[in-house]
């Protein structure tokens, strides 16, 4: 396959640095009907790092994120071309086992969406699907996931209460815990803190920094400060184009594109 290096969208990190690539995106295009939502995106997503996707509303960053674990398949008019390579498998292909893919690449959504079940059953829902049924096996996984999501101490005495009785921030951490219980390799976070108050927001941010030791994280955020605090790399999208991707420090202090600078300094968006 011909890879066009040097086009304006070909933006890779400097090859000299020592890192592993978790996802390699090549010439990805996504369409909703006639609307070209993501245009020729090329990008390397580093393993065990936080990659932030920023840009104004409608720039394609969420669409891009949702294409990684094929959540766009739920939209009948969406289609995509190009490659997203994950362990040498092209995730864009038609022959992908989407169920297995989503187990390895988990997703947390903008609005906390716990199931209307108990805290415990929120975590065991997917485990039971994968045939783990005994309490003896489930209990340690529930505890471990809740600990990793920094929620255990707050809920350990009321695991069988409804998840809907939790605060918004706790619900979101429960959703993260529920995803962690599947032991994914990559976590996709779609504005996970945007619906939360500042304190819950800070807890989620601490959690994300903690989680990158074990997971590769891709996060969409509207909050520039959040991107600069928690991410290692930042990608800036505009109108479906990937304008610039670089180390987060570089993007926020010395971006090479004018559009990036305009956006970050708040001149539009």
């Amino acid at each position: 396959m011909k890879v066009s290096i040097g086009t304006k969208n070909r933006i890779a990190l400097k090859e000299t640095e020592d890192y592993k690539v978790a996802l390699k995106v090549k010439d990805l295009n996504i369409y909703y009907g006639d609307n070209h939502a993501v245009k020729d995106v090329n990008m390397d997503i580093r393993q065990n790092a936080v990659t932030a996707l920023i840009g104004p509303s409608g720039c394609g960053k969420s669409t891009f994120l949702r294409s990684i674990n094929r959540m766009n398949d739920l939209i009948p008019i969406a289609r995509s071309t190009g490659e997203i390579l994950y362990e040498d498998v092209n995730l864009v292909g038609n022959d992908i086992n989407i169920v297995a893919l989503r187990k390895e690449i988990g997703m947390v959504f903008q609005r906390p969406n716990p199931f209307p079940k108990s805290i415990y059953n929120n975590i065991t829902h997917a485990l039971k699907f994968y045939g783990i049924n005994s309490k003896k096996k489930l209990d340690p996984i529930v505890e471990e996931s809740l600990r990793k999501a920094a929620l255990w101490d707050e809920v350990k005495d009321r695991l069988h209460d409804s998840a809907l009785s939790l605060s918004g921030g706790q619900q979101q951490r429960l959703c993260i815990a529920r995803t962690l219980a599947m032991k994914p390799n990559i976590l996709l976070l779609d504005e996970p803190a945007s619906a939360l108050d500042p304190i819950s927001n800070a807890k989620i941010e601490d959690l994300i920094i903690e989680l990158k030791k074990d997971f590769t994280i891709v996060i969409v955020t509207h909050n520039m400060h959040q991107a600069s605090r928690i991410s290692d790399n930042t990608a800036f999208f505009l109108n479906g184009d990937l304008i610039e991707m670089d180390k987060t420090d570089k993007i926020f202090t010395n971006p090479s594109k004018k559009e990036t600078e305009d956006y970050i300094t708040g001149r539009f968006g």
Partner: protein, 295 residues
């Protein structure tokens, strides 16, 4: 005229309309129950009807009504649920889905007497069963199915989309998500819809005139072998339901106490439908509470 006065007038008109509707409803209910109340005795509810003497009851008709209702729901609920799941989750938007949807809507708006004639052709003549409980139940299934499909589809669609996404994003199949996330959340609405539909089926007469028939054989309530001709459970016997009975005694009754029997039957029918409606609300809210709070 200023907007404040307009607002007051509009409010008054709407309150007036509400009062008219409720008073018509209560007037009707009160009238029927007042006239039928004296007949509501255990004897009336359990004894068989008489064809020319005074003092017959509605025992068989009441049993027939519930039996046909039970069989109808037995056919309708699985089919309706299957159709609803298909329409809500699997049908891709497009021409074929639109055609199916139009068919369901047309079927839902068919006059029940037409369904009765269809039942006469299909379940009485073509099958050679004659007037039978099963024929009546199948005709009522045709009558009830579109409503049930609609109820199930709406109930499944009204489950927030993020619940479905949450489950799918965990690496769970569509079918497991439907079973463990969508259906439990939709269950209270499905149940409420099914009970309300039951009230409709229970009161239906026209679709049964030519399918379940206007007569009931002499039933032996000690004989529960469904294959015997005089067993109440036999599904191939003709069966006059309560709603049909009201129509029959009024139009062709030879008994001297036609008025009393009709009044009593109407009261029983309307009370039963009322109970179905109240049950629907009550059970619906209990199940909703039970499902949303844990365990």
């Amino acid at each position: 005229m200023n907007s404040k006065v307009m607002d007051k007038i509009a409010t008054a008109i709407f309150i007036l309309i509400a009062i008219i509707i409720t008073s018509v409803l209560f007037g009707l209910l009160g009238y029927i129950i007042y006239h039928g109340f004296s007949k509501l005795t255990l004897d009336f509810l359990t004894s068989p009807s008489s064809s020319f003497r005074e003092g017959g009851g509605i025992g068989n008709q009441l049993f027939n009504s519930f039996y046909i209702l039970f069989l109808t729901m037995l056919f309708t609920i699985p089919l309706g649920l299957g159709g609803g799941i298909y329409m809500a989750e699997y049908a891709k938007p497009g021409k074929i889905t639109n055609i199916i949807r139009t068919c369901i809507e047309v079927l839902a708006s068919l006059p029940s007497i037409v369904i009765g004639m269809f039942g006469l052709l299909m379940f009485v003549n073509l099958t050679g069963w004659g007037y039978s409980i099963i024929g009546g139940a199948l005709a009522l299934t045709v009558f009830n199915l579109p409503v049930m499909v609609r109820v199930c589809e709406d109930a499944i669609r009204s489950v927030p989309k993020d619940q479905k996404e949450a489950s799918l994003a965990l690496g769970i199949t569509h079918w497991y998500t439907i079973r463990k996330v969508l259906l439990p959340s939709a269950f209270p609405s499905i149940l409420t819809g099914a009970i309300l539909a039951s009230g409709r089926v229970f009161g239906e007469a026209a679709a049964l005139l030519f399918t379940a028939g206007l007569t009931t054989p002499r039933l032996d309530f000690a004989n529960w072998n469904p294959l015997d001709a005089n067993s109440p459970l036999n599904i191939f016997r003709p069966a006059e339901t309560l709603a049909v009975h009201i129509w029959a005694v009024n139009t062709q009754g030879l008994i001297p106490d036609v008025r009393e029997v009709a009044d009593g039957s109407s009261a029983v029918l309307i009370i039963a439908v009322l109970i179905f409606n109240l049950l629907a609300r009550w059970i619906g809210s209990i199940v909703h509470k039970k499902i949303t709070s844990s365990k």
